[in-house]
């Protein structure tokens, strides 16, 4: 059951990230999507991939995007 909830979280946060007007919030929602994906990988019997995705997808990629947003502009005009 938990895996279906996680799939829904992944997709919904991906869609929310794309319709957000504030790019910083979009970056954080990308991290949400990546984190939910990491738990999904754990359920799919792949703990190594889950660990990588948890760090890269939920921490490092959002930091990249957030730094880029901080150095450019925050509003999606």
């Amino acid at each position: 059951m938990i895996e279906f909830i996680l799939m829904i979280i992944t997709i919904v946060s991906a869609i929310l990230a794309l319709i957000q007007k504030d790019l910083l919030k979009a970056a954080i929602l990308t991290g949400f999507s990546g984190g939910a994906l990491a738990v999904l990988f754990q359920i799919l019997l792949a703990p190594d991939v889950a660990l990588t995705q948890a760090i890269v997808g939920a921490a490092i990629v959002p930091v990249f995007i957030a730094l880029a947003v901080k150095k450019t502009q925050r509003r999606d005009a």
Binding site: D48, I55, A59, I60, L67, K71
Partner: protein, 157 residues
């Protein structure tokens, strides 16, 4: 950033770095390995940079040595592969485990990891990849954080 954040950020990043080292060293037994551990260490460094700012972060390393470190990681990997090529005839042959029995025993004992799991050269490769991933990701974030906005430059002039 608030004072509380500054107080707890340093312990958290030190814990992350220690966890990362643990993940790298146990990569052949437990989930994890070079990438994951290296990325964890990099996450610790990134956290400290984000909270304290680029200039006065307690955990920092000199900009000039970044590419030397990165190259050492990849070069070490290649050199371990070349040992396999010249000793056994195959690039990246696992000279420590030697499951096909094609290299002399003296070379095998040099590269055998002192562990009951018979992992051969895998732990050494993990260490090199971990070093490389850690330095690579931190270098990208340091470059991003050091990039000057147009507005900031105007203010400086």
């Amino acid at each position: 950033m608030s004072q509380i954040l500054k107080l707890i950020a340093l312990p958290i990043s030190i814990i992350l770095i220690c966890l990362g080292i643990m993940t790298i060293l146990g990569g052949h037994i437990t989930p994890g390995g070079g990438f994951q551990g290296g990325a964890m260490i990099a996450a610790g460094v990134i956290l400290s940079i984000l909270v304290y700012g680029l200039g006065n972060s307690p955990i920092e390393f000199s900009h000039t040595y970044i590419e030397v470190f990165e190259s050492i990681g990849a070069l070490g990997y290649i050199v371990l592969g070349l040992v396999g090529l010249f000793a056994g005839g195959f690039f990246l042959y696992n000279v420590g485990a030697d499951i096909f029995n094609i290299i002399p025993a003296s070379i095998q004992t040099v590269f055998h990891y002192p562990d009951t799991t018979n992992a051969g050269i895998i732990p050494y490769l993990n260490i090199f990849v971990g070093l490389k991933v850690f330095v690579g990701l931190s270098a990208i974030v340091i470059a991003f954080a050091g990039f000057k906005k147009l507005v900031e430059e105007d203010a400086e002039q």
